[in-house]
């Protein structure tokens, strides 16, 4: 073998060494991890929960329940009136999946009870709830929240102090509201303030001030922060708390002295339930001190239970002039009348 052959051979050898070195490194990088097998808490049975609270909160509450009881929770979540529509439709058809229901419309519960669609169950936790927040043996308020106004502190200096200040020309086209067709809170506000301020208030606000309608609370908050609107005419106190304290934004709440509509979100068991025992356990859990504390910590809404300490940094029910429907039955009955009215004031738009 001549000299050149040796040199070529050694260069090839050297190259092979480098290649081997590279393959060692590349082999590590390209190595596929084995498939991952995930196991969750083992469960024995399932209960279906129709709810309007945010999915993320519902999931976590269900997790806590699952850990405590070993019962899996199937969550059906949507806006209050969409859940209501589905539930009513299923009941009308003779069969619903729902075992337990929590939506922000007390009228629905009165209606369901009156129609005999709620299961009678006396939870041991009823005693912790005042009379006005429960219907003994059928339902109690799982969560309550007040509806205030909100604004972006970094942009707005002069604020409306009263609901009627929203009728000022200054706010024309700069007010945001939620869609009454889906949001139970928007209906509750409309109903309570209509009782308080009269239909003219709403007529002028909706038809003259030309408010913008949003389909989710988060969209309304984004509109505020982005300057699309100056005032959110319908904004829950717990959402203000979330955006101010938890998210650290410049959204602040306005709490008119004449009153803050208090929206109630009861919980009840549907009579057609296939899992009555699991449903009772879920209802117990939701109304228990632990369930209430969890709800309050996750969702920042008010617990009606006296033994649940309110969150720091959020106005309490006692400190605000909370307004409730004078007649809960009327509240439910007027829904079919007031929602079209709201829409008609808006000029037929939804």
């Amino acid at each position: 073998m001549n000299k050149l052959s040796w040199v070529v051979l050694l260069i090839i050898f050297s190259g092979l060494c480098f290649a081997q070195s590279y393959f060692y490194i590349a082999g590590t990088d390209n190595k596929l991890k084995p498939e991952i097998v995930v196991n969750a808490t083992p469960t024995t049975s399932t209960v279906t929960w129709y709810t309007s609270i945010p999915q993320v909160h519902a999931d976590r509450i269900a997790n806590a329940f699952r850990i405590e009881t070993g019962i899996d929770v199937k969550i059906v979540r949507n806006s209050t009136f969409i859940v209501r529509e589905r539930l009513m439709s299923e009941i009308e058809k003779g069969k619903t999946e729902a075992d337990v229901v929590t939506i922000a419309d007390i009228g629905t519960f009165i209606e369901l009870k009156n129609q005999g669609h709620l299961m009678k169950y006396t939870t041991p936790y009823y005693e912790y709830y005042p009379e006005e927040y429960k219907d003994p043996d059928y339902w109690a308020v799982f969560a309550a929240f007040g509806m205030c106004m909100a604004y972006d502190e970094s942009r707005i200096n002069t604020l409306p102090q009263h609901w009627t200040d929203l009728l000022d020309d200054r706010w024309r086209g700069r007010i945001g509201l939620e869609d009454i067709n889906t949001a139970g809170s928007q209906y509750g506000q409309y109903y309570i303030l209509r009782e308080k301020l009269g239909v003219e208030f709403w007529e002028e606000l909706l038809s003259v001030q030309n408010p913008k309608i949003y389909y989710r609370t988060e969209e309304l908050a984004d509109a505020l922060l982005e300057g699309e609107i100056d005032i959110a005419g319908e904004f829950s106190i717990h959402t203000v708390y979330n955006y101010r304290v938890k998210k650290g934004t410049s959204i602040r709440g306005i709490y008119p002295e004449e009153g803050i509509p208090l929206i109630l979100n009861p919980v009840a068991i549907i009579n057609q339930t296939d899992h009555p025992e699991e449903a009772k356990k879920l209802l117990d859990f939701l109304l228990s001190q632990r369930g209430q504390e969890l709800m309050q910590r996750l969702n920042y809404k008010y617990s009606i239970r006296g033994d649940v300490t309110p969150l720091d940094g959020i106005p309490t029910i006692d400190n605000l002039n909370m307004l409730q429907p004078k007649n809960a039955v009327e509240y439910g009955r007027k829904r079919s009348e007031y929602i079209p009215e709201f829409n008609s004031f808006l000029g037929g738009r939804k």
Partner: protein
């Protein structure tokens, strides 16, 4: 093939050296790399594990606090994407499993499981178990070491490939040129030059070599010239030596011829002289005995002088005859067996009267052995030596002693006579030399010891003398018991 494999050139040695260095560097590097990597990676893995545990504990706390199990699931499955983590299980404060995630087919015995509590606001809200793969770190070490070792090996081979041509250019090629130049040189041609022009040691060596070659060439030229001159001178000397040798040879031949003629002459003359001398001695003796009439005192004295001179002359002639025969090579030993003691007694008896006349004691000791030699010449030698001893001894004794020694007979003649100086001993055996130590009126011929030495040599023997002036002399001669 075997010749090819021999490491007999600087080039091969350099290649071998580079190969050995490369291999050595690779082995040593591999060893060091393994040691360092193993320690560092193991330590780092431990730190990583601690960090993973702490990080997971920190991130899981709010999730557990808010029952965000989807996030828990996301957190633990994403943690599993990290190499080394093979399983994670999260529990609530009562120990109920919330979520667990693990790589498929993972076995607990292959895992290093660490347990950790999850706390929120100082309260234990849950715990988790995290399983680290034991094989992972070994795999990592193997991979890293493998990558480094192969990388280093490649690097060293490349370095060797670069170093070899540099070394060849710097050292081997000049030395090769140097070697070829030296090879081309022969005693008749020192004109080759290195022609390497560099500033380093090789250049210095080449310049020194060129200078040396030039000096050698010059010296060689001068040496050659000197050699030619020397050759010429030698031829002249040889010629002269040859001439002288021829002359000397001729002179030697002439001298030998002359000596031979001299010996023949002496033998003839001695014979011719001895016959009348014997007559003179015989008749003078008859007259002295008074057989031819009475002699007065004066006549008697005169005749006694004639008688003595004649006898002396006869002895001189006899000695001369013997010497001439020996020198001319005519004298041959007459070998016969004889008894040493008996022969010695004969000699003793013949000389005893003379010794007694002088009052010298004659001590005689000879072994009773048979000797094969020339008895007559033996006697002649012994008589000469003992006679001389008696002659040069005024008072005291003459001791004659013979001993058998090896295959020889050693005869010692020792006297207590006048002796001689050491510087005169070497003159003792020269012909016609008479030293000035005479204590007797009896005159010698000056040939006695010269003859004795030649006779001893004729009988394949040897003779030596020890003497001290005033204390006496010792003559010792040695003869073979059986003449060869």
């Amino acid at each position: 093939m075997k010749e090819k494999l021999k490491i007999n050139s600087l080039k091969k040695k350099t290649i071998l050296f580079v190969l050995i260095i490369t291999a050595l560097c690779t082995v040593v590097s591999a060893f060091i790399v393994y040691q360092v990597v193993e320690v560092q990676m193991t330590d780092r893995y431990e730190v990583d594990k601690e960090a993973a545990v702490e990080s997971l504990s920190y991130s899981l706390a709010p999730m557990l606090d808010l029952y965000d199990y989807k996030q828990v699931e996301r957190a633990i499955t994403s943690s599993l994407t990290y190499e080394g983590i093979a399983s994670i299980a999260v529990f609530d404060d009562s120990g109920t499993l919330i979520r667990s995630a693990a790589e498929q087919n993972v076995h607990v015995e292959d895992l290093d499981v660490k347990k950790c509590n999850i706390t929120s606001n100082g309260k234990v809200i849950g715990s988790f178990e995290i399983g680290f793969s034991k094989e992972y770190i070994n795999e990592q070490i193997r991979t890293t070491v493998g990558a480094l070792v192969f990388g280093l090996m490649g690097f060293f081979v490349l370095t060797g490939l670069v170093l070899y041509p540099l070394t060849r250019h710097a050292v081997i090629d000049p030395l090769k040129a140097f070697t070829e130049t030296v090879k081309e040189m022969d005693p008749e041609n020192f004109s080759m030059r290195m022609k390497v022009y560099r500033d380093d040691e090789i250049g210095t060596l080449a310049a020194s070599f060129d200078q040396m070659a030039e000096n050698i060439e010059k010296s060689h030229r001068e040496l050659k010239e000197a050699h030619y001159k020397l050759q010429e001178a030698k031829e002249g000397v040889d010629k002269e030596v040859e001439e002288r040798t021829t002359e000397l040879k001729k002179a030697k031949e002439e001298a030998e011829r002359a000596n031979q003629i001299k010996s023949i002459f002496l033998a003839s003359m001695s014979h011719e002289l001895r016959t009348p001398l014997n007559s003179i001695i015989g008749f003078t003796g008859i007259i002295l005995q008074g057989l031819a009439g009475e002699l007065n005192d004066e006549q008697k004295t005169q005749l006694e002088m004639v008688y003595g001179s004649s006898k002396h002359l006869l002895a001189l002639i006899n000695d001369l005859m013997d010497i001439s025969k020996i020198e001319s090579g005519e004298l041959e030993p007459d070998l016969e067996e004889f008894n040493l003691a008996e022969t010695g007694i004969e000699v003793r008896d013949s000389l005893k009267p003379k010794a007694e006349d002088k009052g010298v004691e004659l001590i005689w000791e000879m072994p009773d052995i048979t000797v094969v030699s020339d008895e007559r010449r033996f006697k002649q030698i012994l008589v000469n030596l003992v006679n001389n001893a008696i002659k040069f001894t005024q008072v005291g004794e003459v001791e004659v002693k013979a001993i058998e020694k090896d295959k020889n007979i050693e005869v010692m003649v020792k006297d207590t006579g006048v002796g001689m100086n050491k510087e005169d001993i070497h003159k003792l055996f020269a012909p016609f030399v008479q030293l000035e130590y005479t204590v007797s009126e009896e005159k010698g011929t000056g040939l006695g010891l010269y003859l004795v030495r030649n006779l001893v040599r004729l009988l394949n023997g040897d003779i030596r003398v020890e003497s001290e002036y005033g204390k006496g002399s010792t003559f010792t001669f040695t003869l073979p018991i059986k003449y060869v």
